[in-house]
Symmetry: C2
Subunit: 307 residues, 2 copies
Amino acid sequence: MGDQKSKVLIIGGTGHIGKFIVEASAKLGHPTFALVRETTVSSNPERSKIIHSFKSYGVNLIYGDVHNHEDLVKAIKQVDVVISTVGVELMAEQHKIISAIKEAGNVKRFLPSEFGGDVDLSQVVEPAKDYVELKRKIRRAVEAEGIPYTFIVSNGFAEYFLAGLGQLNAKVPPRDKVVILGDGNTRVILLAEEDIATYTIKTVDDPRTMNKTLYMRPPANVLTFNEIVALWEKKIGKTLDKIYITEEELLKNIQEAPSPLNFILAINHNAFVKGNFDVVVPLGVEACQLYPEVKYTTVDKYLDQFV
Amino acid sequence: MGDQKSKVLIIGGTGHIGKFIVEASAKLGHPTFALVRETTVSSNPERSKIIHSFKSYGVNLIYGDVHNHEDLVKAIKQVDVVISTVGVELMAEQHKIISAIKEAGNVKRFLPSEFGGDVDLSQVVEPAKDYVELKRKIRRAVEAEGIPYTFIVSNGFAEYFLAGLGQLNAKVPPRDKVVILGDGNTRVILLAEEDIATYTIKTVDDPRTMNKTLYMRPPANVLTFNEIVALWEKKIGKTLDKIYITEEELLKNIQEAPSPLNFILAINHNAFVKGNFDVVVPLGVEACQLYPEVKYTTVDKYLDQFV
């Protein structure tokens, strides 16, 4: 391939983060493909608009469906990199993407749909636990199949968690009172969707992120919720009333809330109380990989001395 | 320095893992120094023997005490690398080592006393929780001071966890019955002390492990406890009686046991039930470090759009 940029297929490109990633891929010079359902194009005005914008960036639309194995294999065979940005409802279906990648046999990198906290280090409670567990199983399946991967831990979307200052249903920050989950001293890492997309695309041809987790931790964005509120207060020159919800109350709310509110609250609990958007990341390396010349004692051999 | 091997000071060198590390350092060609208390040499026959063996490998003994700041600074100024292998009783005193390293100003790498599971990902219960928390605080202090470091996650010592097959007070594997904590399906990673020492010394001049956690996961040694027992049974051609202790029973035992048995049980619970000797290691890289050219949107700037 030389210096040529890899061809990228995005599956789930009309979703919240997907559209940013499609745009970043095209703008950073990758031949970019988006798998879209024909029904989406015709039936959903908002998504039609997104697809229209894709055309303006020169994105190649591939009509097809994740549930159709042949569609998938055919689409994947045209590219080097597959990025899944599917949402909750298609999360489990990524096993189908994995099968198609295996059959196609040409994929140089696969990024499964993650774009949140580290699912391996999550402390999320039900009903979101099953969902996180699903992402974890996708990781294990990708590893087990030997598909070259990068797992993207992008932490929190700014539009979801920052624009409304974490308030339910808010799209702009509050100006009178703010509800704070826990004591507000948990650190959260929040990124603009455009930045998440840029980092994601930067990584697809980068050998340094091959078979690794890419953590996004912009230093200026590692803040406690209290610090974020203080930033906002300073900007508007006004102190907000603060209502603290203890973890105990929040857990009770999660159990009593109807769906999907209980799911959102569980995600917020994980982010703002448990700190899943700021796991202490072990930037680790592994001894046997670094020093294969060391002939270590196996457990099997070690036990021989006692026989 | 060129190809010259760095000078290594071991603090706590007469301890369980320390003596192996002193030996590995000397044998791998590092000018090796061990800080020892004069009282240790004269009063403790076992440790005197260890110190005698150090002399036979050409180790330079430095008489001094961790509690004496001037002793420490003077010792540290003679070397490039400091490895702490202090035990439980001196764990908190490592803040003194950190201060001395700061004052000395010449240290190219510091390895605080770890040599267990990953303390950042530990699920250990009391009374061992405080101890693990202490190691975690030492990590944060080292990072905060900007001291170049490597954190060593060596998982389980073979002498402690494998020689006696995890049975309390046993130094050889049992031949009739074996107590299994939990269901025995948790994976544990156990290494011979000599191998831990070799990997540890290999890492001190390796730029790839600078400011990273080094995980030791020899593939042949990633086994469930049940698998280890089966290995042993095959070797002696005999099936052992198996007594399973549920997590609930074990937690109750921990609460009721006297010290230090409760501490040991808590460590065993963390290792054999919670799986702290086999955390799913995110071999991670960080986006801003890899792509400093991306000018990301800070939280501060992001909020400006709403003012």
